[in-house]
């Protein structure tokens, strides 16, 4: 009925106008000052009721008389008045409003909202901000740019391991990482490593629960919504960009430079007749030509043999003195290049974008490299009310890395051996395993060369969108997203058989021989039999979103309603085959083996479907007060069994958000100091199917090493599932405000949030005496809360000079409120002497290590043994603090002067601690600077307990063997020595760019724009004085048990390079 009426009215209006003036159809195309399309403009014939809306491509059509004045407005832009004139096609350029808060933003599930309608914290990072440091991966480019977002590069290599955390941890044992959405499709973090950062138009960060409710369970930890670039109407634009990048170790642990190879060889035990009281003399006895440990006598420059005599009689006799910077020189300077070309263009009804990228990286570990090649195509076409678009990308990446612990091999090499001469072990006889000096650790270059991890990733991903505008107020929309991600890999170990000479005959000649010499190189006892493991994994994701998008006024209310239906399916398969030997050298196929074929397979399928609705509403004439209600009803396969009741696998959750524009409601508030003020609040409850796949079943699997031939052996699983498992719920509260001050030159966004996660599906460690090691159960409560503030200031706006600064601060804390009854803590893992833990009533994860005993008087004196003088280890693991940073501060600034632009971003994180196993290893090898004091000494700041049980400050009891046992057998074992505050300040990125002036560029007649830039990433890192080890961001695991690092992570690096961009 209504449709007819509406048409009648339009027809009548048409008729009315036709009678008064010459009316024509005018087509307009709207762009901003940069030439980017301005979608959804509103065009009104001034003084009339005629208003039309432009489409998403910035095109509008309106009927107007010649003399009519068109008022063209768009959110975020200054409105423009134009005479219609006689032209039938208009090209309109709108200028951006300085206040950017009026932007239309893309929220969850692609729903567009005006900023003022959003009742929760939301951030957006543009391509410009991403590309500042030319980071090889998108995630690293986001570090420090958004409050509440923490990017952890837990391991740096040519294939860095990164994790993305929004607003801290809320799940104790489940996933805490943010959801990654690319062009509306829910994907997995694996794709983040593969996407070309230059293809990204913007990244929206939906921090809280409300923002992500519509993504269902997957969005519980917030979401990174990535929008890729889209072509714009206009002539073909071709861009070429090249970046060349260098990577260098930014800092290394502190190494000692005084002592060379040696270990505890001194033949007398303290108290024996003949025991030499001089530590210097004992050190001389401890020197060995072939030692990996560095507890020999002090460097004196004398010529000494390294290792043993080779089979041809040759000897490596070199000065016994420290080679400056040898550890640093053992690594390479990494070089990488990135080349890319993009094409974009479009016409009235279609757009297209196409890009190619190639990136080659050579890492700091010699021989480690990666290569990524990708293409992306995105295109759209409109046919009247129907618009379609697709977006597809295909990326191949190849990685070739070492599987050896190169770093550990380096620190097991004494600093008088010049490793730079040892790189070519195939031809250099002193570098070859048959002649290499070190009896215990092989040549690092040999180890890294024979242990290789080779793998290839291929990712194909596509989205297919259809929008049908059924009526002016209703669009039907469907998006089908599909992804296939595969990895094929081969890990291989080269075969090496030692010569008989190396095994049995290599000796040490006088004068370097010692009383306990024996012929043969110790490590030659075990030949390297080689091995190969071949594997492939594939992952298929299908995600369909069907939506009805409605915009309609009902009575007093202006409403926008989206109803959606979502289907998600993920399937994975992995297969591996392996052989633990190689028969014919250099042929890495599992058929080239002795013994049985090893291997296995793993398959998973998970499915979800859900209905959701999102309603934004406000009273007419009161559009300063907006209410947003969301709800979703999900069903998940992860909790499904035919025998279970629907309430165990279907779940409803919902939320509401309110935003209030105070300056619109009460215009008196507006002044030149306060331009805009918005207050917002939200509440919501989110459901989550955070359970390990197939977690409902107790499983029975093959016992270790079974089957032996035909002999089958099975074992009862160790994780006992509770029968009543159901999805968990997280309740979030958030309040915040956005303010523009001083003529919109200062923008402030503040929020406070709290999340209560109740009834988590927790893998609880239960005592093994129950027969099981873990229980999977809904239990416990975790609170997670924090504050965030983003401040953006336009410091200076002169004719040629623009200077902006911004600060992003976030504070996050959490508390384990409840655990399973009777269980007060459990460990995630780590080492027997250092673990990260969940402890009731505390913040998690918490680091615990063994340590010292301290004097009861609070003086901080450390207990030593009253006889030996060695520090006494308190074997109990004691809490050392939280490993998750509490405070994060980002500070960025950009200065534009004419065609020059300088920008940089700093990040600080702190309030946490870390444990470095690297420190322990370096104490073992004697390479750490802290082991340098090897003279007779009383253990600093110590006390002992005397015969009467009293604490006595130690001024008399010297340690017995400061040249060795103090460090290796005592100090090393006290893990507290390697715990330190984990705060850091990093210069995340720095970029100086110069755009060639337009008139100059135009003269070339080839280019339309050109730009050169110098950039750097992590150029410097400042850490705590006590942190003598490594980058506090590193962790041995990307899981929840963070804060423990080891030699598995190579040293932190800085990167710098230059970049040229041309647009044709």
């Amino acid at each position: 009925m209504k449709k007819i009426v509406t048409s009648l009215v339009v027809a009548l209006l048409f008729f009315a106008m036709a009678t008064t003036a010459q009316v024509r159809i005018i087509t307009g195309s709207v762009k901003d000052e940069q030439g980017t399309v301005v979608p959804n403009v509103s065009v009104q014939v001034k003084g009339s009721n005629t208003t039309v809306l432009g489409n998403e491509k910035g095109v509008f059509k309106i009927s107007a008389a010649d003399n009519a004045v068109l008022v063209i407005s768009a959110i975020g832009f200054n409105s423009l008045e134009l005479k219609a004139g006689k032209l039938s096609a208009l090209n309109v350029t709108l200028s951006k409003k300085v206040n950017e808060l009026e932007n239309v933003v893309v929220t969850a599930q692609g729903i567009r909202k005006k900023s003022k309608e959003i009742g929760y914290s939301y951030a957006k990072v543009s391509n410009e901000e991403i590309s500042v440091g030319r980071a090889p991966q998108l995630t690293q480019a986001l570090a420090g740019k958004v409050s509440g977002l923490a990017i952890y590069t837990v391991n740096n290599s040519v294939d860095p391991a990164v994790k993305v955390i929004l607003r801290g941890y809320r799940s104790l044992t489940g996933n805490n990482e943010a959801l990654i959405v690319i062009d509306g499709m829910q994907t997995t973090a694996t794709t983040l490593a593969l996407i070309n950062p230059a293809d990204v138009e913007s990244v929206s960060i939906l921090k809280g629960g409300q923002a992500a409710t519509l993504y269902g369970s997957a969005g519980i930890n917030g979401a990174l919504v990535i929008t890729t670039k889209m072509g714009a109407k206009g002539k073909l634009k071709v861009s070429y960009s090249n970046a060349t990048n260098f990577e260098q170790i930014s800092f290394l642990p502190e190494f000692q430079s005084k002592y060379g190879s040696g270990s505890q060889y001194y033949p007398y035990v303290f108290g024996d007749a003949g025991y030499d009281p001089s530590s210097a003399n004992r050190m001389k006895e401890n020197w060995r030509s072939y030692e990996n440990q560095q507890y020999g006598d002090a460097y004196d420059g004398s010529m000494r043999i390294a290792g043993r005599t080779l089979s041809d009689g040759s000897k490596l006799v070199i000065p016994y003195s420290h080679v400056e910077n040898i550890r640093r020189k053992s690594f390479d300077i990494g070089v990488s290049t990135n080349n890319q070309v993009s094409f974009q263009g479009g016409d009235e009804t279609s757009t297209y974008y196409m890009s190619f990228e190639n990136q080659k990286i050579n890492g700091i570990v010699p021989g480690d490299k990666s290569d990524r090649t990708g293409v992306r195509v995105k295109s759209s076409k409109e046919y009247g009310n129907l618009s379609t678009s697709f977006n597809a990308s295909y990326t191949q990446a190849a990685y070739n890395r070492t599987g050896a612990d190169f770093y550990n091999d380096i620190i097991n090499t004494a600093s008088w051996v010049d490793l730079t001469t040892m790189r070519d072990w195939r031809t250099n006889k002193f570098a070859n395993p048959n002649g290499y000096y070190n009896d215990y650790y092989n040549n690092p270059y040999f180890n890294k060369d024979i242990n290789r991890l080779n793998y290839k990733d291929a990712n194909i991903q596509g989205n297919f969108d259809i929008t049908y505008k059924a009526t002016p107020w209703l669009s039907i929309y469907n998006k089908l997203g599909m992804m296939n991600n595969s990895r094929t890999g081969k890990n291989s170990v080269e075969k090496f058989t030692y010569s008989d000479w190396a095994k049995n005959s290599a000796t040490i000649p006088a004068p370097w021989n010692r009383y306990d010499d024996y012929p043969g190189i110790y490590r030659a006892i075990s030949d390297v039999v080689g091995g190969v493991s071949d594997y492939s994994t594939t992952e298929n994701v299908l995600n369909n979103e069907f939506q009805l998008r409605m915009q309609k006024d009902l009575g007093m209310f202006e409403n926008k309603l989206t109803l959606g239906y979502s289907v998600y399916q993920r399937y994975t398969k992995s297969i591996s085959v392996s052989s633990s030997s190689i028969v014919v050298p250099d042929v890495y196929n599992v058929s080239n083996r002795q013994g049985n074929l090893g291997g296995g397979e793993a398959n998973t399928t998970e499915r979800r479907f859900g209905y959701y609705g999102d309603l934004s509403t406000n009273l007419k004439n009161m559009d300063y007060l907006n209410l947003n209600i969301t709800a979703r009803y999900d069903a998940t396969s992860k909790f499904f069994k035919p025998t279970r009741s629907a309430s165990q696998y279907k779940y409803l959750y919902y939320g509401a958000a309110l935003s209030f524009i105070a300056t619109d409601a009460f215009p008196v508030l507006k002044s030149k100091y306060l331009n805009y003020a918005k207050l917002r609040a939200s509440y919501n409850k989110n459901g989550n199917d955070n359970i390990p796949l197939y977690g409902l079943d107790l499983s029975y699997s093959n016992g270790a090493n079974f089957p032996y031939g035909n002999q089958v052996g099975l074992s009862v699983g160790n994780t006992l599932p509770d029968a009543n498992l159901k999805p968990e719920f997280v309740t979030s509260y958030e309040v915040g405000g956005e303010f523009s001050l001083f003529n919109n030159r200062v923008n402030l966004d503040v929020s406070w949030y709290k999340q209560n996660s109740i009834g988590q599906v927790l893998t609880v460690k239960i005592p093994n005496t129950t027969g099981f090691s873990n229980l999977l159960i809904n239990v416990g409560q975790v609170d997670n809360w924090g504050y965030e503030a983003d401040l953006k200031v336009q410091l200076l706006r002169a004719k040629k000079l623009k200077w902006d600064v911004n600060f992003k601060y976030s504070y996050n804390d959490n508390k384990v409120v409840a655990l399973y009854p009777g269980i007060t803590q459990f460990a995630y893992g780590g080492y027997s002497y250092a673990t990260s833990n969940v402890i009731l009533d505390g913040r998690f994860p918490v680091l615990k290590t063994n340590g010292y005993y301290y004097a009861t008087d609070g003086s901080g004196m450390r207990r030593v043994n009253s006889t030996t003088g060695y520090p006494v280890q308190n074997t109990a693991l004691t809490e050392r603090g939280s490993t998750l940073p509490r405070h994060m501060l980002g500070m960025g600034s950009s200065v534009t002067y004419g065609d020059f632009r300088l920008s940089f971003n700093f990040e600080y994180r702190g309030g946490n601690v870390m444990f470095s196993d690297l420190g322990r290893q370096m104490t073992f090898t004697g390479s750490g600077k802290w082991t340098e004091n090897r003279n007779d000494q009383i253990f600093a700041n110590s006390y002992y307990i005397d015969a009467s049980g009293k604490d006595v400050p130690n001024t008399t009891v010297k340690v017995r063997e400061p040249e060795y046992a103090l460090w290796v057998n005592n100090y090393r074992l006290i893990s507290e020595n390697f715990v330190c505050p984990a705060w850091f300040i990093k210069l995340r990125d720095l970029n100086l760019s110069y755009s060639l002036p337009n008139n100059l560029v135009k003269k070339t007649k080839v280019f339309s724009a050109a730009n050169v830039a110098l950039y750097g990433r992590n150029l410097f890192t400042i850490v705590d004085k006590a942190n003598m080890f490594t980058d506090p961001e590193f962790s041995y695991t990307a899981g929840n048990g963070s804060g423990i690092n080891n030699t598995g992570q190579t040293p932190p690096v800085r990167q710098y390079g230059f970049n040229v961009n041309f647009t044709f």
Binding site: K3, Q264, Y265, V269, Q293, I476, D516, D517, Y518, Y522, I525, V529, L548, L563, Y565, V567, S580, G595, N596, G598, N603, F609, Y611, F640, P642, Y694, D697, S699, Y700, S701, G703, A704, N705, F706, G709, Q711, L714, S715, V716, G717, D722, I766, P767, N768, T769, T770, G771, F772, S773, G822, I823, F826, A827, S832, Y833, T868, L877, F924, V968, L973
Partner: protein
Amino acid sequence: MKLKYLYIGVIMFLVGSGCKKEFLNVNTNPNALPTATPAYVIANALNTTAANMVSPNETGMYWSGHWSQSNGYIISTTLFQYQFTNGDFNYWDNTYDNLYDYKFVIENAAAYNQKYLKGPAKVMMAYNFQKLVDLYGNIPFSDALKGVGSLAPKFDDQKAVYEGLITLLDSAILDLKSNAFEGTYASSDIIFKGSASNWVKFANSLKMRILMHQSRISGRDAYITGEINKIVAEGSGFITGADVGANPGYVASAGQINPVYNTWGYNENGARSATNNFPRITDFTVKALLATNDTFRLKRFVYAPGNENPAVPGVSLNPEIAANYVGVPFGSSAGYPVPATCAIGPCLLIKGVFNKPLIIMTAAEVQFCLAEAKQRYPTVGLTGTAQSYYEEGVKQSYRVLGADVTKVPALLTSGLQDADFVASTNKLNAIAYQKWLAVSYFTGLEAWTEYRKNNYPATPQSKNVVGTSRPLRLFYPGTELGSNGANVNAQGTIDPLATRLFWDVD
């Protein structure tokens, strides 16, 4: 307008109705089995029990004074300075995990018509609990292995556990006698291949082990003699002439060879394991053997310095003359490099012999248990004499080591202390010493238990330790403390160097 909403409703319904319950029915684990039969579970359980012994036996070899380490490694501060924590030596978790598999067998045997597996499962439960008591003292026993039924199992007094094990073995023997093995599933029994009578003998032997551990507790005689007489009355006897060992059918493939051979000897391709460099015979043991002219066993225990001849497996590269054998003073951190000292010998490691059963109890041990029983309680109904059991024990020790059994009489009549039973002035010491030797290498944990119980032979303190304290037990593992804290703490403060087990009277 109403129609429009109807349309919307219809569209949503149509789209939404695509997903029914069936769509979600993909939650059956495709990677693991949903259930298992007891016959398959017990095969793995038996193999796991044996494999779980490798590490505690190693520790036992050090702390009983048989082994030290070569100086190719830095000194192990946990083993030779006794600086260990509740994160070290966790023999607890894997044992309880293994125990639950036996529980599964016992509980499901009837349902699968495999009742004959109940008896062996109970015997093995007793074997594992006995190990746990000897390592940790009080342990969860009656309240253990109940899953959600008891999530914080209470600890039982160690003496009560020991008594409970005797009862458990009684019940095992009843089961074994009333349920004959079914031939098809005999292969699941990777220890006795379905011989119920051997299982009963093993049960009796295990009872003797448990009873004789308690022999030095005052006031315990009546209980012990009563139980021994019950064993005699039962009448099946003990394992004799052969040892109890598990063999799942080792094959020359990664992870599928005898784990002792793999850990200390060679891998499946014949490449020597790097850990072959670590354990070394102590100079105490070398001297003790030389003192009784017992070079036959010395040559089986270890290879002469220079190790095994790769061309002649089982034989030392260098001449096997007594003067060549060099032991490491216990806990020495310097002066004893790898090639200059004696590595584990042909009793455990012969290159290429990767498929011997993994022994979990030797026949010799039983004989020495009987010898001690008869020596201490002459009235018990055992038919032999202390001397006859003792001498048979030495013979069985020679046999299992692969030494020449014909040389035994010379040792037994040598007139030397602790070798010749008749000539030995302290018979119990002679039994203790010979048992300490006989159980070594195969069941090192028993060697440590014997040492803790008898304090004989008087092996020297570690050169890396100040003072006289030695490890007497282990800490409760951190994993148990973290999840069952109240019950662990109820056991009081544990000092592994001072807190004695109930059978360790001095």
